[in-house]
Assembly symmetry: C2
Homo-oligomer: 197 residues x 2
């Protein structure tokens, strides 16, 4: 295989990620992706088929990265939630991709749903283990809610700015919010851990 083909693909994927994160599926412009990548537009169709399939490639690549980085390494669930928060603060594009996709597909099944299901199942399993309980629907609800809290600030930056104050991006502000999340998580976990305590 001639030299640059892998490199060209990678450049396209990077450019596409930036473009899709910024403008979404409908708003993304194929020409702009090619331009950003410094590659001819036609390569996109040769490698990926069409715009939507390119989006899927970008997304699945990004999801792999996400699941790899955010792990249940520590055995503190609150720390896990804070990790998710950190990750989305550092790489908001990945969350944006997920949100564009969510809005685009709505309630219709998303491509590749199976693989994601197993990935989430694993996370749930780990989460339950950390808590020392079974992975019941209640625990799933809890995990889902906590992911929501962790991601909410990056999901709604304008609302965050308005409610939490103008400077949400300073390191100090993020540290404070992180603290809040840890405390919040500890608090909300208590009920599940000692049911009817």
């Amino acid at each position: 295989m001639p030299p640059d083909t892998a490199r060209t693909r990678a450049k396209l994927l990077d450019a596409a990620r930036a473009e899709f994160a910024e403008h979404g599926i409908a708003g993304a412009r194929v020409d702009r992706i090619a331009l950003r990548a410094g590659v001819n537009k036609e390569r996109i169709y040769a490698y990926f088929g069409n715009k939507e399939q390119l989006f899927q490639h970008v997304l699945s690549e990004s999801l792999q990265e996400l699941t790899a980085v955010v792990t249940m390494s520590s055995d503190d669930p609150a720390e896990y939630v804070a990790q998710i928060y950190d990750f989305y603060c550092a790489r908001p594009e990945l969350l944006r991709l997920l949100l564009w996709e969510a809005l685009y597909y709505g309630h219709e099944p998303i491509p590749d749903e199976d693989r994601r299901a197993t990935s989430y199942a694993v996370k749930l399993q780990e989460f339950a283990e950390q808590l020392g309980v079974q992975p019941t629907p209640d625990v799933a609800q809890l995990l889902f809610s906590l992911i929501g809290v962790a991601a909410w600030q990056s999901t709604m930056p304008q609302m965050a700015r308005i409610i939490l104050g103008t400077e949400t991006e300073s390191e100090q502000a993020q540290a404070r919010r992180r603290e809040h999340l840890v405390e919040f998580t500890r608090q909300s976990i208590a009920a599940v851990k000692q049911p009817q305590g």
Copy 2:
């Protein structure tokens, strides 16, 4: 003013709301909006200027509705959060509009930011009163997080379906999730109510 002008406007706004909620700003088609409304396309430009301004009209109308419906009527904060949840389950388009806007404007200031700021400030004030505390930044953080939890299921329907099980839309499933939210909220509020308790 001749008879139908107000009615025509209203029909356009309704159609635009549906179209924008479904497809976002970039994905919405002006022709489709006119078609849905049964009105000529040119009226949109006469009444609202252009596509983006039309979106703003739709959004501000929807926000008014939202703030009117979701009130702090009861003096139970958990009930308030559950109300938000109910509202977004019943009218997911409104959340979708907010999300499209959030993605579209990103970190740039949104049009009409001032009015929204005061609206949120009022909600925060009410929330703090319900808790019987001052509206400190901590309370703002809590309110913001709780809004996130309440909205998360409608924000990420695919993730919800995968983690919470296939049927998230049945009345039973929604009632269960509502229960979870109430419990979750009570739990997480405790810390703020009795600080360092």
